[in-house]
């Protein structure tokens, strides 16, 4: 009988020790990502004696408090948040290329151009007014080139972040492939440990953290298998199944708007997570803005070049399509104001024209070659007729003019960015709430663990007292013999 008390006390001490250890471990991992708090599951020994006295306590298992539902919800939210964060960040960068409203950006430079042309119209033969207009036009072309270039370099940087074209071993692609490989390995280890009756908690924690990171990168969902492994799916495509890991690589390219992520077998992944947002920006959003910016350049160049071509300069040089240039006139004609690049003499419209639009070097060298007079002015006769200059000064107010197109471009950048920021805010709130929900199930509460620790400590002390008391009783018995 006293032998039994010692045995019971010993089992209690072991259980208390396990509880103390678990509390200590939980407290140690209070801020470890992916850690789910551990709980010691105790059961009492089934009495083997007829008296009905129990035979102590046994540790059945140490398990984790997890919630598959909350994890799944959180995983979806992490994928959406990854996408929203990346979108908001990219658009924030893009927006920096359009610092409007301001007194120095493109809109203001266009306004300066029109104002100075309007001033030229009041003194068409003024060399300084001509010089000013050519300088303004050159500034506008430079800003268009610069803005287009900034967008290109953002796009290039994003492609680099992804890991480059046709790559699988750097940037986000490397991260994704590494996580997929790790999850497959962990699946193997967990299945083996579980079959061998070993502890899988630490492995599960690590796998949970990896899945969460992968979810933020790609947008995935998981299916828990009976054997303890987890299948990872992106859309209908399996990324991890048991210990099989799929290798991801990029395919296509931004120039053809089809940069995407595919499996080695050639299955293209649906868009999701950070990578999805990045692909959207590189394939669609940024090229769209560049194309709109080129529309600004095209409208500017086409309108000014047309008027230039139809007009006559104050020195009497006719534009090539002006009435003054009609035969018998056979002299030189005015050059285009804007050209494709500094070595070209004509302007071509297109979706990347903003990258290369340049002021004609002939005009830079001789600003007097700007048309100010009506096309019906006589060729070879100096004139202060301001008709063409007045028409040029009004280009800024045209409903299809460069200012209007630029305004709608700024509005779409603003709208897209504001929308991305709003999405980020809502997705963040949702992710916060799913994460809080998950942490409230899986997380560690210091106070709770401290209470557990105190209770284990007291129970430990009680068990020690029992051992002491039993020993005293046994000693008394021995002394009596």
């Amino acid at each position: 009988m006293s032998d039994l008390s010692l045995q019971i006390a010993a089992s209690a001490v072991a259980a208390d020790q396990a509880q103390l250890d678990t509390a200590a471990n939980n407290l140690a991992n209070v801020s470890t990502p992916g850690y789910a708090q551990q709980v010691v599951n105790l059961t009492d020994f089934t009495p083997s004696t007829s008296q009905g006295v129990g035979e102590g306590v046994q540790i059945q298992s140490v398990t984790q408090s997890t919630s598959a539902l909350d994890e799944q919800q959180n995983l979806i939210a992490q994928g959406q948040l990854g996408s929203a964060n990346e979108s908001a960040q990219i658009l924030g960068l893009v927006q920096n290329s359009f610092p409007e409203p301001s007194s120095t950006a493109l809109q203001s430079q266009l306004s300066t151009l029109w104002s100075d042309i309007s001033n030229l119209a009041t003194q068409p033969n003024s060399a300084s007014a001509q010089q000013q207009v050519v300088q303004d036009a050159s500034n506008v072309a430079n800003t268009l080139n610069g803005t287009y270039g900034q967008l290109s370099s953002i796009s290039q940087q994003l492609v680099n972040n992804l890991g480059g074209i046709g790559s699988s071993s750097s940037g986000y692609m490397a991260q994704a492939n590494q996580l997929i490989g790790e999850i497959a390995n962990l699946n193997g280890s967990i299945v083996a440990a579980q079959n061998g009756g070993q502890d899988i908690n630490a492995l599960s924690d690590q796998r949970r953290a990896d899945i969460s990171s992968l979810g933020s990168l790609l947008g995935i969902r998981t299916v828990s298998e009976v054997n303890g492994s987890v299948t990872i799916l992106s859309g209908g495509i399996q990324l991890v199944s048991g210990t099989n890991a799929v290798k991801l690589q990029t395919t296509g390219q931004p120039a053809t708007a089809n940069l995407a992520v595919e499996t080695a077998a050639g299955n293209v992944l649906p868009s999701g997570g950070k990578i999805g947002a990045l692909l959207q920006a590189v394939n669609t959003t940024i090229p769209g803005y560049q194309s709109q910016l080129s529309n600004v350049a095209d409208s500017l160049a086409t309108n000014l070049n047309n008027l230039q071509s139809q007009g006559v300069s104050s020195a009497g040089v006719p534009g090539p399509t002006s009435a003054a240039a009609a035969p018998p006139y056979a002299g030189t004609t005015l050059p285009s104001i804007f050209v494709d690049n500094s070595s070209s003499t004509t302007y071509t419209t297109g979706s990347s024209s903003a990258a290369s639009i340049a002021i004609n070097p002939q005009l830079l060298a001789n600003p007097a070659l700007i048309a100010t007079a009506s096309g019906t002015s006589a060729a070879g006769v100096a004139t202060i007729d301001p008709t063409t200059a007045q028409a040029m000064a009004n280009i800024g107010q045209l409903s299809t003019g460069p200012n209007t197109i630029y305004q709608s471009l700024v509005a779409s950048v603003g709208n897209d960015t504001a929308q991305a920021n709003n999405t980020q805010t809502t997705t963040q709130a949702m992710a916060n709430s799913t994460s809080a929900q998950l942490l409230s199930v899986e997380g560690v509460s210091t106070n709770e663990q401290t209470v557990n620790m105190l209770s284990a400590q007291q129970a430990y002390q009680a068990s020690a007292a029992i051992i002491n008391s039993t020993t005293t009783v046994l000693n008394a018995l021995l002394a009596a013999v």
């Binding site: 927006q95 033969n125 007729d385 800024g396 305004q407 709208n415 916060n432 409230s440 997380g443 560690v444």
Partner: protein, 300 residues
Amino acid sequence: MRITDLSLTTQLSNSLQSQEQTINTLDNQLASGTTLLTPSSNPIAVSNVLGYQNQLSQINSQQANVTTAQSWLGLANSAATQTVSTMQQIRTILLQALNVGVNNSQTYNSMAQQIQGTTQQLLGLANTSYGQTQIFAGTALVNQAFSSSGTYNGNSTPFTVDVGSGSPVAVSVPGDQLFGGGTSGVQSIFTTIKNIVTNLQAGPGSASYSGLQADMTALNTNLSQAEIAADTIGESTQQVNAASTSNQNTSTELQTAISNLAAVNIANVSPTLQADMTSYQAALYAVSKAVPETLAQFIN
């Protein structure tokens, strides 16, 4: 819901983060004086502001043109007025010359000298320039609108300036419409003067009398043409002044519209910022109290 350390700290730090963002935005607004810090601050307002700024810029440049137009018209008006008055002086002298029986060769010669003297004055007026530009040469770029012999060197297209009144306003008249000659169909005043002087120098007599009568008809035509030209210049001046007033009003309206959309209302922002700062401090206090207080502190 069960509260765990991570859920608590995550929630607190999210809450601090969101308050910091709000305060940062308000700080930037106050520091820059505008609520439209980026296109995404308020896309519709930014787009409208860009549109208004574009209109405002055009109005400002048209208003700058008003100054040029007024200078031209001021010069043209003064020259036209003096021209009309000089022509009237010539007409007065010519009327005396036509007064039968009063004049002799001497008075005719004296009259001829007086009228000859107005030629230089009229040439000076006809060659009025704004900067280097002849204002009575139409859109022709010439050194002198009228040569010393009185020949018109300009063309018949008036120089115009866009002051925002719809179509550009003529800020002068081509010289042939004020002084005759050119393609105006009216005999040049300089020819008229030359004829008068020749007839006067011939001395009183029936031939010169009928010549002077013909000159009177020609001078009357010159005078009425000059008066019409002066009226045209006056009308243009009124048009430019009206455009100037309208530009100023529109400019004020646009500036108000821009300010309404973009300017920071300090009366609104300051109390909001104050309130946000207070709740931020409260949140900081809550964090400093909430995080460290655990049961562990009370165990010895």
